[in-house]
């Protein structure tokens, strides 16, 4: 019994982390139809900047805020000056974001060196809880709560605010949105920056578990893609459900079928796509 509770918690907390990493990717694709290959770089750079802030100020909250905002700013620059020129041109977009992925990873190596860094946890969640003999790290419980909080905020923004309505209009039909007088151009910049913000947030918040290290950009990117594709591109609900599915499958796959650890992420994805070609919640 305890085994199942413990392992389920592991899977859910990892799934929530994956949701944080993937939500921005899905949001950006939904509105702008861009497969943003620098999403993992945002994670990595966010983690590094956050860590630098943390060393300077000793404040985890400041690290989270400043790290994420800095990367959001980078997102604004990227969207305004580069991506804008390649609107809806899939192949050059791929080439551009791949090139930036290379540049960012080499820059990070140049600035922060190659050694893996660990983000220290905030003081409040440094300890493990002991519930009836079951030891569980409080930070992971916090991640579950934080992930749900982010999901709720995103849902509220999308469904309950003016800007959310504009985004939904843009997702449904860009031309009509323009005709309705929505400033689609500004909307693109905002959404892209917000997506970058979420990825960097994942970098600082996920840092205490996953770490910040060269190569994390590519690994996070792959995981993010898997989650978003399983859930369905552009769907927030899909990113949440996809994250949980991948988190739980990966966890129980490794525990119950250790010999197949290499396949716990990609086999389910191939299967789901073969049955549902646009993911669980994706539109045709």
């Amino acid at each position: 019994m305890m085994f199942w509770v413990l392992q389920s918690l592991n899977g859910i907390s990892y799934g929530m982390l994956l949701f944080l990493l993937a939500s921005g990717l899905s949001l950006i694709y939904g509105l702008m139809k861009i497969l943003n290959l620098t999403h993992g770089s945002f994670y990595l750079l966010g983690g590094y900047v956050g860590l630098a802030v943390l060393h300077l100020t000793k404040s985890f909250i400041l690290a989270v805020l400043l790290g994420s905002l800095a990367i959001a700013l980078l997102g604004v620059v990227m969207e305004r000056f580069l991506l804008r020129r390649l609107h809806l041109q899939e192949m050059p977009q791929t080439l551009l974001t791949f090139g930036l992925l290379f540049i960012f990873s080499d820059l990070a190596m140049l600035i922060w060196g190659g050694n893996p860094q660990t983000v220290p946890k905030p003081e409040l969640f440094r300890h493990s809880l002991d519930i009836g003999g079951m030891v569980y790290p409080s930070y992971r419980l916090f991640i579950i709560g934080f992930g749900l909080f982010v999901a709720a905020v995103l849902w509220w923004v999308q469904e309950g605010t003016r800007i959310g309505a504009m985004v939904r209009a843009g997702v449904d039909n860009e031309e009509i949105a323009r005709a309705l007088g929505i400033n689609v151009s500004l909307l693109f910049t905002l959404v892209f920056a917000f997506g970058a913000f979420l990825a960097a947030l994942g970098g600082v918040m996920g840092g205490p578990i996953v770490g910040v290290y060269p190569g994390a950009d590519f690994e996070v990117l792959l995981l993010g893609f898997v989650v978003v594709i399983i859930g369905g591109l552009g769907s927030l609900r899909g990113a949440l459900v996809g994250g949980l599915i991948v988190g739980l499958l990966d966890n129980f796959g490794k525990v119950l079928f250790p010999e197949f650890a290499l396949f716990t992420i990609f086999a389910p994805m191939a299967l789901i796509l073969a049955v549902r070609p646009t993911g669980l919640f994706g539109k045709e």
């Binding site: 694709y29 497969l35 580069l82 020129r85 390649l86 041109q89 899939e90 192949m91 050059p92 977009q93 791929t94 080439l95 551009l96 791949f98 090139g99 930036l100 992925l101 290379f102 540049i103 990873s105 080499d106 820059l107 140049l110 590519f218 792959l222 893609f225 898997v226 594709i229 591109l233 010999e259 290499l262 396949f263 990609f266 086999a267 994805m269 191939a270 796509l273 073969a274 070609p277 646009t278 993911g279 994706g282």
Partner: protein, 317 residues
């Protein structure tokens, strides 16, 4: 669509053939080896171009067929002592069969989902190569693959003869790919790329066309993989890794998708950057990144697209 006259085409081919014949006698063995590597990746990129450029199916798992064929050729040559005429076709058969099976699953999806399901399938293949250590040697792969043996007692031992062997097969494949894309079948693929619904309305069985293109792409990628295993004389899971699939995808886009020659040029450029420039600067990854960014911004249709538009500009309105 083609603006080159037959005469100019013939001249171009004659010059290329003459160059190919002279190369082994002017280049040092190391640079000749590098040329062979470029040619192998050119074939690999052209095989992917059949999917991306002509049919509109961007695959991020093309290394699966490259690697599978390499493993089959390498294993049969190493453990069963098969010669080229057995080991090479065995590799090609395997990659065609795998492409057929994967195609059944992958062709249910489109666009980004297609990109990701091909990635997932190739990662499964990578997992098998990595995990089945008794057969594949796991992470370290299979070293000491014998040199290509043409018949009993005769193997291609020196760089020059291997160059001609590889060049012959790759030139033949390039010609076949050109014929395929120029044929009515190729026209249909282009039609599918432009609009599936229209082709469907015209009564074409588009699934069959896409499936055939997918298998053909896997087959030619397999040939590139088998040549690569003979070239390196080892095979490791790295052949199948997603990084390689991404690399070949970039080669195609960099050179210009849908032109065959473009991806071949893209492949040559990336191989050169990776192997020559890296001796001069430690920051060649960043350099490569800047090349991608600049090409994306200023030549969104790839390098051949850029040349084409420059030529049009010069020809005037």
């Amino acid at each position: 669509m083609k603006t080159t006259s037959p005469a100019r085409m013939a001249l171009f081919l004659a010059v290329a053939a003459a160059l190919a014949l002279i190369l082994p006698y002017v280049l040092t063995p190391y640079y000749l080896g590098l040329v062979v590597k470029m040619m192998i990746f050119a074939l690999f990129a052209m095989s992917l171009d059949l999917l991306i450029g002509f049919t509109g199916m961007a695959s991020l798992g093309h290394a699966a067929y490259f690697g599978l064929s390499a493993y089959v050729t390498g294993l049969t040559a190493l453990t069963l002592g098969w010669n080229v005429w057995l080991a090479l076709p065995a590799g090609l058969m395997a990659s065609a069969v795998a492409a057929g099976l994967f195609g059944l699953l992958a062709l249910r999806t489109r666009g980004s989902y297609f990109l990701m399901i091909t990635l997932a399938l190739s990662q499964l293949m990578w997992g098998i190569a990595f995990g089945w250590r008794s057969l594949t040697g796991g992470d370290d792969g299979l070293p000491d693959v014998p040199r290509p043996r043409l018949w009993q007692g005769y193997s291609l031992t020196d760089g020059v003869s291997f160059y001609f062997f590889a060049f012959g097969l790759i030139a033949l494949s390039g010609w076949l790919l050109y014929r395929i894309t120029a044929s009515p079948f190729g026209q249909c693929l282009r039609g599918i790329r432009e609009s599936e619904t229209r082709m469907l309305a015209l009564g074409y069985d588009i699934w069959r066309y896409k499936f055939t293109a997918f298998v053909l792409g896997g087959l030619f990628a397999g040939l590139a993989g088998s040549l690569y295993v003979y070239y390196n004389r080892f095979v490791s899971p790295d052949y199948i890794h997603v990084a390689r699939s991404a690399e070949v995808l970039l080669m195609v886009i960099l050179g210009g998708a849908g032109t065959l020659i473009g991806p071949a040029v893209g492949a040559a450029i990336i191989v050169a950057l990776e192997n020559v420039i890296s001796a001069y600067t430690e920051r060649w990854v960043m350099l490569l990144g800047f090349v991608y960014v600049i090409v994306a911004l200023f030549a969104p249709n790839g390098l051949t697209g850029l040349i084409e538009s420059l030529r049009k500009k010069r020809a005037g309105p």
